[in-house]
Symmetry: D3
Subunit: 176 residues, 6 copies
């Protein structure tokens, strides 16, 4: 039977480090569910893109990298602010899965406590391939395009994402 | 550029009427986002299956019907109880789309008011191919399998779905 | 010092019975806060109009009846579903007030328990001047305009409210 | 080590059937956590009493029946409306427990699926010793006091509970 | 037809800079809806005053400045934490409006994306006429009264607001 | 009639300072309700333990200190983020009480405004007996056991609490 893996992130935005992780996971799992976390947020400094925009980024990056979407399901999951029920909450959005890929000690522990197998992902160059770094470069007008798949660069342009990120750092809208 | 359509339902469960609709829509649209509504609910009489289970049903039905998942994105969306913001909320989970397929007069009107094009879906035999009918047949121990793709039948069995639906009608757990 | 009264309703829509109540209350109070309850709802069968539309109805009806808005503040208040804190919740949206006008026994009791004075309102012809009756007449294509101020009739037309109410009774959109 | 049991109800109000169940459970378990469900509700027809009032009813009934509170913890738990995470949610309010006492088929199944042992409770005369029956008798001015411990009767009087229940059936406060 | 403008703020508290803005806007618009944002908050360091208190401040300031309340509607709007739907949410509380007055780049962009006209407000001396500055002066026992209309000063006194702000900075109540 | 006191904290974890406070309060009150605030949180840096774990800590500490649970009710209360209704919210979880024990100026003021009597608690050595200090010591591998009752130490071990707190400071799980 097919082995289903789980890979969780916010993907603000999806970058080449994420893409590399997906490729490595697909050597170990037959199918992969990519969970787009914090799905309800957008237009904030840490979450500039909507869930829909992030799903588009990942789908187009899969096509660009010739990874079949027959093997990859992309599922947005809104946060619960009650951490004790987080694993159960994520699971209810995912269906059957066999193992989780994560390097984070807490994520790993929470899934292990719930009886789920957890595997590490061999990331490369984590300091550079980071969404925080990318958002910082956008803000400082430095080269961020070299860190993301070409499809992501195109989608960010199509939603005027650079402008959006800059405005999110200028605003003092009190209710946003 | 690719035309992206939107098709919204709860899919409790996904049945042959839904499958027929997907096929018809894919003649008019290049890509389709299937929105799995009321995503946060499960284990209720009207919403017995989790979002994850419903996504699995749809993915497996696509494969069974040889519809490429390169063209179909399946996206769970939790309800907002504030209807005035429903179209905006759904849109934030979807990204760019060009038209909505719906036979429902209110859904159609709300999307049209928001400036979105709406098309009707030529359903066949709506009385029989209905999720309400299927849940009723499960309860009454009548033949429901003829109304769903074989993959859906298999997934319902694998999660003991018949048993679950029956128990949901027997319970008087006051807090569920 | 000015005596401030409170008058609470959903005003779906604001009608001539409500207007009469406002006039009677303004004989006993110097100023009046009209609380537009269930403010977050719209586009449902019991709550077809948005808070904004209901505020407009009341403002225009005040002007039509030559009641000065210097004496009347219209304040939308979203519901809390936890009834034990309802009086405190409403009060936090209102500021200082001296008495509540209500014919409802529970509303009266809750405010009295919180130490607030409650007065009855002498309504006239409650069976006919009722928002439920008006929504029913709209649906059945009977004369509803005779029951509302002309301004309300005009605003309902300007938002295609008749059409909206009818569609709300036809829809089977599962997630609305 | 001490065996800890779980007993879940809304206790609107706590009655002699509940008390009998507690006694029976304490023959099988060393300690008992009584979960007061739907804790956030009060002042509704199905949930007239606050969590605090219900806790008082249970504590006083324990003392009246000479059941030691060293063995019984009473814990209010607010509802989650997402049933798929209900067992995890309840567990986070309870700490370590060994088995659940329940006659409800769904409750039993959900806990069993989560790996928890479930035992039946031999209730006596379920038609009469029912909170629904008691609320109905209060409304119809019939004898309800014979169905509850004397402490519960006293607490209901002290919060004017009879009056409260009657008013909850008369109100048409639209926002309550 | 009357031109309706929108002016959004938290008004913690309403000050002379806000008043000046209202005057300038009323030269360009026939009517103005003042949206009191973050309406659900109070008793926090950034939001010391309730929505009701802030509405009172604005109403009394209008009267003091001889601005007719026939032209000004004051509407509290609770926050949504999902920014992608913020414009739609605010609009549902407001009804028909023609343009928004704002100096904030993000607010401006979000409304423009939604097809709403946005105008700048010529503020004077923004460093001094700022609610943050006022709350700081209250805390440090410096002259804050010169920055607010006399009515606001009076209302803050009547709710012991100075004392409240100071306590909000002393508390370590863990659950507040 | 019995005098009932209220004592509110988060108890992350319950320590010897809290225990001393309970003892002092029980000299002035016949019964005590210990409110375990922020009950819905766990697995965060400031709230590592679930409500259930915290209740267990307090119950076992009472037994260890030979304080009768006939006199002490331990009640978890989830936060409301709307501070203006906080006193009412807490009260609905507690039932009848006569006075609150608190050293916090804001808590004291809010209860006094609601007409409740407030008493100070003579704490000893507040710098050392602090939950923040304990969590810091756990993180830095310093002696924290001397600051808590032996029962608390044992419960923290049984849930691998030291490990949990350390992981909470290492994680960069974006959705936790």
């Amino acid at each position: 039977m097919a082995v289903v893996g789980l890979y969780i992130g916010r993907f603000q935005p999806f970058h080449l480090g994420h893409l590399e992780a997906v490729k490595l996971i697909l050597r170990q799992a037959d199918e992969l569910v990519i969970v787009v976390g914090s799905a309800q947020y957008s237009h904030t400094r840490k979450n500039p893109f909507t869930a829909g925009e992030r799903i588009m980024m990942i789908r187009e990056s899969m096509k660009e990298a010739e990874i079949s979407l027959e093997r990859v399901q992309i599922t947005p999951v809104p946060d619960v602010n009650v951490h004790g029920i987080w694993v159960t909450h994520v699971s209810s959005y995912v269906g059957k899965y066999d193992l989780v890929f994560s390097n984070d000690p807490l994520t790993s522990r929470l899934f292990r406590e719930a009886g789920v197998k957890v595997e590490k992902i061999p990331f490369f160059n984590r300091e550079v391939y980071s969404a925080t770094e990318i958002r910082k470069r956008v803000l400082l007008n430095q080269d961020w395009r070299e860190l993301v798949p070409r499809s992501v660069s195109r989608i960010i342009d199509s939603v005027e994402g650079v402008d959006r990120i800059r405005m999110l750092f200028q605003t003092d809208n009190p209710t946003l």
